[in-house]
Every structure is written in structure tokens, then in C-alpha cells.
């Protein structure tokens, strides 16, 4: 045992253990996605969306945080409701089913690289940290294997509920999973063929060296996106839930937090899939147009630019608040005094944050100069540079993933839902064939142009 412990530096162990916290990133995406979905639906349908709940602050009055308070209330309600099972269900499977997708969600981000492999000197030691929690060579396959298991939750829920609607929902889920797993794998194969590896960090390195996957494999990208949306069972592929036909599909009989687990499982699955698409087709953590060595050499200025971007986002937010305020002042809304009071808090916070971030950025740009030592002919920087670079890369990845989160919501509230046989037709007769042809064409071109074995 001891030789395992002493084989690495203590800092390496600490970071390795700290990286397990990344398992909760998809859970964090729930906090982003649920308000985004509900208010985004409102935005697309030209209505307000749920934002009426509030908490009170002394001077500023009712604070609603653009609907986030409402979602917190809904979550609390789900959490404190009685966990209830009807009489006719199969107890064990009924209780087990909601846990499966949620448990899988906690495991599956282990192969996603959050930053490029860190190499830095700490004291005398040279420390290498891979970007993913589990540094395995099967990489993306592990993710697919796990996500194919997560459909058992829905299938078992459908069967254990002992109700016709649930059973139909479970049946449809299993059929959809089988069909779209195939499309998902095949559409990805072209990208794997080009990169020559299953490891996501090597795929990202390939994209960094050549072009983004969305340019190299546009057809595969669209097949992959469609198959992914279908695999999570969201509209327009929500045949497993199918409100018009099946009440609520596989979770008809569920209530309280058991339903909440399905709900959270679905949303964090969306989060994982967004990160995966960003990794495979949008260059992952690599910052566009900037080499990683450039960032490392000028890490102070890079952090300064990052702070500048944050200031820009804050100013955009302030612009939005001021526009709303102006609109409310001239309108005849009866509650405009309350809303203007609330907005004054946001203005205060944002204006307080702007100079702080600005000063931080300027300070880091002026005074953060990296020092390097040359080991085996490569420049190796200190721990500060490594963490700064990792932060920039992590934020890049999350921004790309958030863009895809919006794409999912956009698709859901724009396209009409498919009928069940249309979904099967699309999966087996259209996307599968397109993905196969794409794979063959890619293989031939890769053989001719790149001359691989």
C-alpha cells in the first residue's frame, strides 16, 4: 500500500482527489438548465415564464433573480413531498429505477478532459496531471457504455409501475436506445478515425492541430447531434414520455423526489452531452486561434483578457437592466416600483463587480510574469501558470457547452414532436445510412490523403 502512496508527490494526490469534484459539474448544469429551459420557453413563446416567486431584502424589496428563486422553490417542494408508491407496483424495482440514471450521471463525466494535461514544477518535483478524472485509453467508449446503461432506469420504471402507460413508455425508451446508440456510435467513428484514438484529450489535440471537428466532419456532427437529442429522450423525440399519448410515459406513477431524480437525470444528461459535443466537435478546452504555449507564456495577460471579457459580460448585463428599467418607467405596469427597486440591487452588484474585476485583470496583466525551467528541451512553468491555464481552458469548455445547452432548448421549443414510427424511420433508414456513408467516405479520404494504415 505504502509504495502506491509514496509513488507520487502529495500535491499530485491532492489534485487527483480534488478532480473528483468534477463529477458534480453535470449537477451544476441542472441549476443552469432548468431556469434556462423554463424562461427560454417563455422567451420563444413570447411570454414571461415562471418568475413570480421572490424573497425579501430590507431595502430592495422582492428579489426574484430572473426566475431562479422560482426554480429553487420548485426544487424544495419536490424535495419535501412525501415519497409515495401506488399499491400495485413492484416495490424493489420501483424504488431502484430512478436511482439508475442519476447514479450514471455522477459516474459518466469521469472520462471528460476538463483541461489540457498539466505539467508544472513544484519545488524540485515535476508534476503531471491528466485533464480527466479517469485517465483511460478507452475514453469516449466508456462514456457511451455508461450512457447506454442509463436507459435501464426508464425501462425498469416503466415495467415496475405496473401500468399500461408506463409500460409503453418503457418499451419505447428501450427501442429508442437500441436504435440511436447505433447511430451515435457510427456517426462518431469518422472523428475517431481521423484522430486515431478513443481518448477525448487526443481527439481535442487533433482538432487543435488541424481543424475543429465540426469543419472536418459536418455530416457526422449533425447525425451525432440528432442521435444525442434522441438518446436523452427530449422533444422533439420525447416519445417515451409523450404527454399527448401516454400521460407522462415511464414516470407516470412517480411523484416527489423520485420523479425529481428522473428529471434531474435528464437535465444532467443534457449537460454531459453538451460537454461531449463541445469536446468532440468544437475543440473542447482549446481556446480558438490561440495556442496553449502562447497562453502559458503570457498567462498574466491571458488572465487579464479573461477579466476583460467578464467585464464585458457584466456591462452587457447592465445594458439589459438599464433598457428594462427605461421600458418599465414609461410603461403603465402597476408593479413597476417594485421591479425598479429589485433592479437597483442588480445595478449595484454589477457596478460593484466591474471595477473589482477590472483591477484584478490589470494587476494580473502587469505583475504576473511566469518563470520557467527547461526540462528535456521543453519549457515547464510553475504551479500558478498551470492553474491559470487550466482555469482558462475549463471556462472555454464550459462556455462551449453552455452554447449547446441553448441549442437543445432551442430545438425543443422550435420543432414539432415526432410520431413514434417517424422516430424509428428517421433512426434506422435515414441517420444510420448517412452515418455509414460518412464513415466509408471518411475512411477512403483518410487513407488517400493522410495515408494511415
Amino acid at each position: 500500500m505504502m509504495e502506491i502512496l509514496t509513488s507520487r508527490h502529495w500535491l499530485e494526490w491532492a489534485i487527483t482527489i480534488a478532480k473528483f469534484a468534477f463529477a458534480f459539474v453535470p449537477i451544476g448544469f441542472i441549476l443552469l438548465l432548468i431556469p434556462l429551459e423554463r424562461r427560454g420557453a417563455g422567451f420563444i413563446q413570447d411570454r414571461q415564464g415562471p418568475n413570480r416567486s421572490y424573497f425579501k431584502l430590507p431595502y430592495f424589496g422582492r428579489i426574484r433573480l430572473f426566475g431562479w428563486v422560482q426554480n429553487a422553490c420548485d426544487g424544495l417542494k419536490l424535495f419535501f413531498k412525501e415519497v409515495y408508491a401506488p399499491n400495485h407496483v413492484h416495490r424493489i424495482l420501483f424504488a431502484l429505477a430512478p436511482a439508475i440514471p442519476f447514479a450514471i450521471v455522477l459516474i459518466s463525466p469521469c472520462v471528460i478532459p476538463w483541461f489540457a494535461p498539466m505539467v508544472f514544477t513544484f519545488g524540485d518535483a515535476v508534476i503531471r496531471i491528466p485533464g480527466q478524472t479517469v485517465d483511460s485509453e478507452v475514453g469516449v467508449l466508456l462514456l457511451f457504455g455508461l450512457s447506454s446503461l442509463s436507459a435501464y432506469g426508464a425501462v425498469l420504471a416503466g415495467w415496475a409501475s405496473n401500468s399500461k402507460f408506463s409500460l409503453l413508455g418503457g418499451l419505447r425508451t428501450s427501442a429508442m436506445t437500441i436504435s440511436y446508440e447505433v447511430c451515435l456510435g457510427l456517426s462518431l467513428m469518422g472523428m475517431l478515425l481521423l484522430a486515431g484514438s478513443f481518448r477525448i484529450d487526443e481527439i481535442i489535440a487533433w482538432q487543435d492541430a488541424h481543424v475543429w471537428g465540426i469543419v472536418a466532419q459536418p455530416v457526422a456532427f449533425f447525425c451525432f447531434l440528432i442521435a444525442m437529442i434522441a438518446e436523452t429522450g427530449r422533444a422533439p423525440f420525447d416519445v417515451a414520455e409523450g404527454e399527448p399519448e401516454l400521460v407522462a410515459g415511464f414516470h407516470t406513477e412517480y411523484g416527489a423526489m423520485q420523479f425529481g431524480l428522473f428529471y434531474m437525470g435528464e437535465y444532467s444528461h443534457i449537460g454531459i452531452n453538451s460537454i461531449l459535443v463541445a469536446c468532440l466537435f468544437l475543440g473542447g478546452y482549446s481556446v480558438p486561434f490561440v495556442e496553449m504555449s502562447t497562453i502559458q507564456a503570457n498567462v498574466g495577460i491571458s488572465l487579464g483578457v479573461l477579466c476583460g471579457l467578464i467585464v464585458l459580460a457584466l456591462l452587457a448585463f447592465l445594458h439589459m437592466i438599464y433598457r428594462y428599467s427605461r421600458w418599465y418607467k414609461t410603461s403603465s405596469a402597476s408593479n413597476k416600483e417594485v421591479i425598479l427597486r429589485e433592479y437597483s440591487l442588480y445595478k449595484l452588484l454589477a457596478w460593484a463587480a466591474v471595477p473589482v474585476v477590472l483591477v484584478l485583470g490589470i494587476l494580473s496583466a502587469l505583475f504576473f510574469h511566469p518563470e520557467y525551467t527547461i526540462i528535456n528541451g521543453e519549457m515547464v512553468y510553475g504551479a500558478g501558470v498551470a492553474f491559470g491555464t487550466a482555469l482558462i481552458q475549463l471556462l472555454t469548455l464550459l462556455v462551449k457547452a453552455c452554447f449547446f445547452c441553448w441549442v437543445w432548448i432551442w430545438v425543443r421549443w422550435t420543432l414539432p414532436r415526432f410520431r413514434y414510427d417517424h422516430v424509428m424511420h428517421l433512426g434506422w433508414k435515414v441517420i444510420l445510412n448517412i452515418a455509414l456513408i460518412n464513415l466509408v467516405v471518411t475512411a477512403v479520404i483518410a487513407k488517400l490523403v493522410l495515408g494511415g494504415n
Binding site: L141, G145, V155, G170, L171, T177
Partner: protein, 181 residues
């Protein structure tokens, strides 16, 4: 030491759930136990330093084939209406076969020393692909066999579709109805 502990745990889970497949009266519970067996087998492959085979085991067997089996069990509603008896006439032939096989396996296991060399068995992705498809190095590789199996599976699938069509399709040919959606 550590791999041994993991191996014993995974082996116990695999063997236990395999016994559950045998004992469960409800086909769906049997199928689920089989899934657990396959996942723990995948863990054992991982212990043998061949994560690729393990992941393929999870993807193909636990993910796809068992999902299909669950689908079939659910769609036939076998789980609710039919409770299969644990022993019937076929068991006379099956049970001795299982016992003989178990005896053979036990003999092999006992006669070979049980130890783990993480370096001895290697099943990395590169090695697997080189063994299967690389013609330049040693031997012709297995890719012709691989293609032949693919062709065999394809023909089996085509036959199954043909058989199903013959049985289902013929009476419907007379009653062609215009569907209006």
C-alpha cells in the same frame, strides 16, 4: 493484493447474480441479474488490463443485447403471464452438462496457480487492433474471419426478416387499407 480483493468481489458478484438468473422465476429479474453479471465481468476484464474488452462488454452485451432482451420480455409480457418452472424435462440433459463443465473449470483453476501479473496480460486498444487487423507483422490477422462473421450475421438477420415477413405479411396483402394521418 488490491487486484485480488477486487477480483474476489467482482467474481462473487458475477457468480451470485449468475445463480440469480438460474433461480429467479420472473424472466425480467433473470435478465437484470444477467446484466449485473455482465457488468461485473467487464470489471474483471478491466482488472486484466484490457479495458477495451470490458467497455465493449458493457456497451454491446449489457447495453444493447440485454436491452433488446428486456424489450422482448416486456413486449411479449412474458414476465406477467408465464412463470416458467425451474426444472422440466430438458433439465435432465442440461444439468449434467453444467456440472461437467463446472468440474472441468474447477480442475483447470485448481491445477493452475492463481496469481496476477498486471504486465503479463495486456489488452490495450493498440494491441487488440494490431492482433486483429495488422497483416504486416506476425500472421495474417483475423480480418477475413471478422468480415466472414459479419457476413454470416447479416445473412442470419436477412433470413430472420424474411421468415418474419412470410409469417406476418401474407394475410395482410389482401386487406390493403388506406391510412389517413
Amino acid at each position: 493484493m488490491l487486484p485480488m480483493i477486487y477480483f474476489v468481489l467482482l467474481g462473487l458478484i458475477a457468480a451470485g447474480s449468475a445463480v440469480c438468473v438460474f433461480l429467479s422465476k420472473n424472466p425480467l429479474y433473470g435478465a437484470l441479474s444477467l446484466v449485473v453479471t455482465m457488468v461485473s465481468l467487464a470489471g474483471i476484464y478491466g482488472l486484466l488490463a484490457s479495458p477495451f474488452v470490458g467497455v465493449v462488454q458493457v456497451m454491446v452485451y449489457a447495453g444493447a443485447i440485454m436491452m433488446l432482451l428486456t424489450f422482448v420480455i416486456m413486449i411479449l409480457n412474458a414476465a406477467r403471464d408465464v412463470v416458467t418452472p425451474r426444472f422440466d424435462r430438458v433439465s435432465i440433459f442440461v444439468l449434467p452438462a453444467i456440472l461437467v463443465l463446472a468440474g472441468l473449470l474447477a480442475f483447470v483453476l485448481i491445477s493452475t496457480p492463481l496469481q496476477f501479473h498486471a504486465e503479463a496480460v495486456r489488452g490495450s486498444v493498440a494491441l487488440t487492433s494490431a492482433t486483429l487487423f495488422d497483416m504486416s507483422k506476425e500472421g495474417p490477422g483475423y480480418f477475413i474471419l471478422f468480415e466472414a462473421i459479419g457476413l454470416l450475421l447479416l445473412s442470419a438477420m436477412a433470413t430472420a426478416v424474411l421468415l418474419a415477413k412470410k409469417r406476418l405479411g401474407t394475410p395482410e396483402r389482401e386487406t390493403v387499407s388506406k391510412e389517413v394521418h
